[in-house]
């Protein structure tokens, strides 16, 4: 467990070093403040509106897929460690698990969520129902 204590020391000391150096530069650096310095950079123009706007965020589905696959990877790491001892049984079990997830990946792939321009959904039955 002492290893994790070392890791904690790494995180605390690292955070301290950053804060310390930033504070040090506060003391060393000159301050000649005027309001124009605090305008967000927009290629020299005055910024138009805020940056906290809504925009079409492509690939948000990717974040969901990532979540699923990341959890899967967490499951696979312990499996890989004991794989040598478990042999065929472990292999078959993990194969089934991976297969189910790959079906999910294939579904997303075919549905077009991995493309920049998503194919339009085919709604032939809707058009028929409307009598067009």
């Amino acid at each position: 467990m002492i290893g994790f204590y070392t890791v904690l020391l790494f995180i605390l000391t690292g955070a301290f070093l950053v804060s310390f150096t930033v504070a040090l530069s506060r003391f060393l650096a000159p301050t000649k403040d005027y309001p124009e310095k605090h305008i967000p950079y927009e290629c020299g123009e005055l910024p138009q509106g805020e940056a906290w706007i809504q925009f079409n965020n492509r690939f948000y589905i990717v974040a969901l897929i990532f979540l699923i696959f990341d959890v899967e990877v967490i499951f696979m790491y312990p499996w890989a460690v004991v794989f040598n001892d478990m042999g065929l049984l472990a292999f078959i079990e993990m194969f089934i698990f991976i297969f189910i997830l790959l079906v999910g990946l294939a579904y997303v792939w075919v549905k077009g969520d991995l493309d920049w321009i998503k194919p339009k959904p085919r709604l032939e039955h809707l058009a028929k129902a409307k009598g067009e």
Binding site: G14, V22, P40, D70, V81, W109
Partner: protein, 349 residues
């Protein structure tokens, strides 16, 4: 006993007289400071090297003036300049998140150094989940980048941060799966034991295991790790020519310097992981070369990979965002799954 603690105990025998908690804390903090010094030195060297390599690949000379010999003191001058620059926070920024972002990015990078095995004895923390730990810690950088980009309240920063997030989380999957292929054979996640399992000569290194399956895994890992650290051809989050710097557009002074340091530290970390897992870590390629100490091999191999990263920057053009996603989800991920299944089959049959 931790190998590192023994290492310091041999150097300074008097620490064994101290109470245990004090000795461990002092040794730990000294190690962090040593590694911080290494990160800073490495970043200075790598910045100089990158500028020289870029220059020579484009038939220029690069920095030649500062310090005399081939401008070796240029990065030192740059560092001093950054230290005495005015620290500007945009008026409309979210100040707390803005200040927190570089801390997270750099601390995550430094924490990754905790499990790198420099030699048989010098490994700060030999965790039994070492590889998993380093993957999870390095993914903290995404939070820092997203925080910094969003908090700046600048459109370029926000776009850069969004790109960084979707890119880095996507490429985490191929990275993790490619490393998994090796763990299946080695049966351990401890960075130290992963290297010990490769003892012998160059043909015992994991990259030549199950030839050519792990070699392909190594290739997948290397490509995906380029995307993890936002290097060309995957440098969309900061693409200078289209996003004027991406998520760190609004950062100046030391805060910018720490984003930069964290980025170079991450370049070293991904190369060091590749060295540990695939290229035999601190081991010499042939028995006859065993007289050269382990840390030299380790740093040498990692630096070679860092050089290749810089080389690729001037060889490959930047990808488009959709090509980036295509490469990750439709090429690298299926291939790494295929490799895991093939290695599994190879082992059970």
């Amino acid at each position: 006993m931790e190998p590192l603690f023994q290492f310091f105990n041999n150097l300074f025998p008097f620490i064994s007289d101290w109470p245990e908690w004090l000795a461990h804390t002092v040794v730990g903090v000294v190690t962090v400071l040593l590694l911080f010094g290494f990160v800073a030195l490495f970043a200075l060297f790598a910045i100089w090297l990158e500028r020289k390599i870029s220059a020579h690949m484009q038939d220029r000379l690069g920095p030649m003036e500062v310090g005399g010999w081939h401008g070796w003191a240029q990065p030192i001058a740059d560092a001093i300049k950054l230290l005495v620059k005015e620290d500007i926070i945009p008026a409309m920024a979210d100040r707390t998140l803005f200040k927190l972002a570089p801390v997270i990015v750099f601390t995550a990078a430094l924490a990754g150094f905790a499990v790198l095995p420099w030699s048989q004895d010098f490994i700060p923390a030999d965790l039994n989940v070492g590889l998993l730990y380093i993957l999870s810690v390095s993914s903290f950088a995404v939070i820092g980048l997203l925080m910094g980009g969003w908090a700046s309240n600048n459109k370029w920063s926000l776009y850069g941060a969004m790109r960084a997030a979707s890119q880095m989380i996507s490429y985490e999957i191929p990275v993790a799966l490619a490393l998994l292929a090796v763990i299946m054979n080695a049966g351990t996640m401890s960075m130290r034991h992963l290297v010990i399992a490769q003892s012998g000569n160059i043909l015992d290194w994991n990259v030549f295991n199950f030839f050519p399956l792990t070699a392909v895994a190594f290739f997948i890992y290397f490509v995906a790790s380029l995307a993890e650290v936002n290097r060309t051809p995957f440098d969309l989050p900061e693409g200078e020519s289209e996003l004027v710097g991406g998520f760190h557009t609004e950062y100046s002074s030391m805060r910018f310097a720490f984003f930069f340091l964290g980025e170079y530290a991450n370049m070293y970390i991904v190369s060091a992981i590749a060295t540990t897992v695939f290229l035999g870590g601190w081991l010499a390629p042939f028995e006859a070369l065993n007289f050269i100490p382990g840390p030299i091999w380790f740093v040498g191999k990692a630096m070679t990979l860092v050089f290749i990263q810089m080389w690729l920057r001037w060889t490959l053009p930047r990808l488009r965002v959709d090509q980036l996603m295509y490469t990750c989800w439709k090429v690298l991920t299926p291939f790494s799954f295929a490799i895991i299944l093939l290695i599994g089959l190879w082992k059970v049959l």
